[in-house]
Amino acid sequence: MSDILLNIENLEAWYGDAKVLHGISFGLKRGEVIALIGANGAGKSTLLRSICGLMKKKTGTISFDGTVISGRQANEIVGLGIAMVPEGRRLFPSLSVEENLLVGGNTGRKGPWSLKAVYELFPVLRERRHTPSTALSGGQQQMVAIGRGLMSNPDLILLDELSLGLAPIIIKDIYELLPKIIGNGLTAILVEQDVTRALASSQQFLCLQEGKITLEGEPQAFSRDQISAAYFGM
């Protein structure tokens, strides 16, 4: 078993004619959490969408656990062990909390996560399991989105903007649970606007600017100024 779980080589991606990722290459070790930082429009979400198979127009190679997945459909990729917690949560409005979680477990992959385990992580969801997902608060919706991703028992979880639109106290709660979420040796890519929080929660980081990697490495290895410069392109 190779040490590298996810390997990306020379990834380029387009929305229509607009090229949004330019020659992205990096590797992600098993069990590692990597933070993806960058300003709005830097290409962070596009990178995640490319990995999970939602970007139609892209070139380059993405391999996961030794298998090339860049040509695969999103519905196959989740079955191989990559779960996405999408930006804006994207819960299914006509499904209850529990149904949203059950749909997440649709692939039938075995592992530590089940309805019971998700309810132990987020007890409030058990109380509200029959509630329509739209009737929850933003923080609770984010818990459902995370739980739904975990239900597929992934090896790699992509967390896109966990804190978007949430109150600071809720963000704090969710980040306090992060070690439990990515325990069990789960590998994670964390996309976050809140740079300080993202860097504090990860072993590695990548800084993107206009679709290119401007800085990468361990967060402790760089000064604040160096990271700011890479982030803003100064």
Binding site: C52, A74, N75, P86, S152
Partner: protein, 288 residues
């Protein structure tokens, strides 16, 4: 008592209209597809039953055991092979393609079975009845037809809200892209929905063929009844669709009693009134 009888007979016919409509409602709910060929598929199922009955001599009701699975397989293939390719942001391609399918089905049936009017013969059940009240006799066939409609609607409702396939239908209908991230391939989910729809279409077709004469060109009329029942009942609500069928059936029965020429007109008028005053239907789905 005459009017009680008329209303009861209208309600029972409404069951058949609900069967016409349930598949339309299901398909629209899952994939926002308006299937113009729906009525022709109902008629095609009646002809398929006729062919099986003629070849084997079995009762048309027994032919359901063959017609339903064949129709479901056809529906699955139709969706995978043709209709999935037409779905997208533009609503025109599926309309055009199903319109084309309607023309092909009508002409195909004409070629195979000629323009003669046919009927499925189910035997004694067609005329047998029991007295409910003085002057009100309930036919076993209309009662069976209504009971089957209730069971079909209940079954679809159960499937939608209590099974993993139902969750897949609703999740894909809500947000196909996110459903893909859960491993739900919309092409397959839609194909299963169409298979189920055609299963219901097959049941509707066989009951239609037992109840009245049919010919290759009566599909569009059944499509209109189906549409009217769906819209009277309220889009996206299967029990509403059953009630929509009943409202249509009762309106037609009352119209026919006043003047035989008014049967269809009365149904269309009720439909127009609902569209004018309750455009979301009498029993719209509660959002959220």
């Amino acid at each position: 008592m005459v009017w009680v009888n008329i209303i009861i007979q209208g309600i029972l016919v409404g069951g058949l209209y609900a069967l016409f409509a349930a598949g339309l409602s299901l398909i629209f709910g899952v994939m926002r597809l308006v299937n113009i060929a729906h009525g022709d598929l109902i008629v095609a199922a009646a002809f398929l039953s006729l062919a099986i009955v003629q070849a084997s001599g079995i009762n048309p009701l027994a032919s359901l055991l063959i017609v339903v699975p064949l129709a479901m397989a056809f529906g699955y293939g139709l969706q995978r092979g043709i209709l999935n390719r037409t779905l997208g942001k533009d609503i025109l391609p599926p309309l055009l393609v199903t319109f084309g399918l309607s023309v092909i089905l009508q002409n195909g049936l004409l070629e195979l079975f000629t323009a003669d009017s046919r009927k499925l013969n189910a035997g004694l059940i067609e005329t047998a009845s029991f007295p409910l009240l003085p002057g009100v006799a309930i036919g076993y066939l209309p009662l069976l037809q209504f009971a089957v409609a209730v069971i079909v609607i209940w079954g679809l409702q159960y499937l939608f809200y209590n099974t993993s396939l139902g969750r897949a239908f609703r999740a894909t209908s809500d947000d196909p892209e996110t459903a893909l991230l859960m491993g739900l391939d919309q092409r397959k989910v839609y194909a299963w929905a169409m298979a189920l729809c055609l299963g219901v279409v097959a049941i509707a077709g066989v009951f239609l063929g037992i109840r009245s004469n049919f010919d290759p060109f009566m599909g569009p009329g059944r499509l209109i009844f189906g549409f009217e029942a769906v819209i009277i009942g309220g889009l996206g609500n299967l029990w509403g669709t059953l009630l929509g069928g009943v409202v249509l059936g009762v309106a037609q029965a009352i119209g026919a009693q006043i003047n035989p020429g008014w049967q269809l007109l009365a149904g269309h008028l009720v439909f127009l009134l609902v569209l004018a005053f309750r455009p979301r239907g009498l029993f719209p789905k509660v959002d959220g």
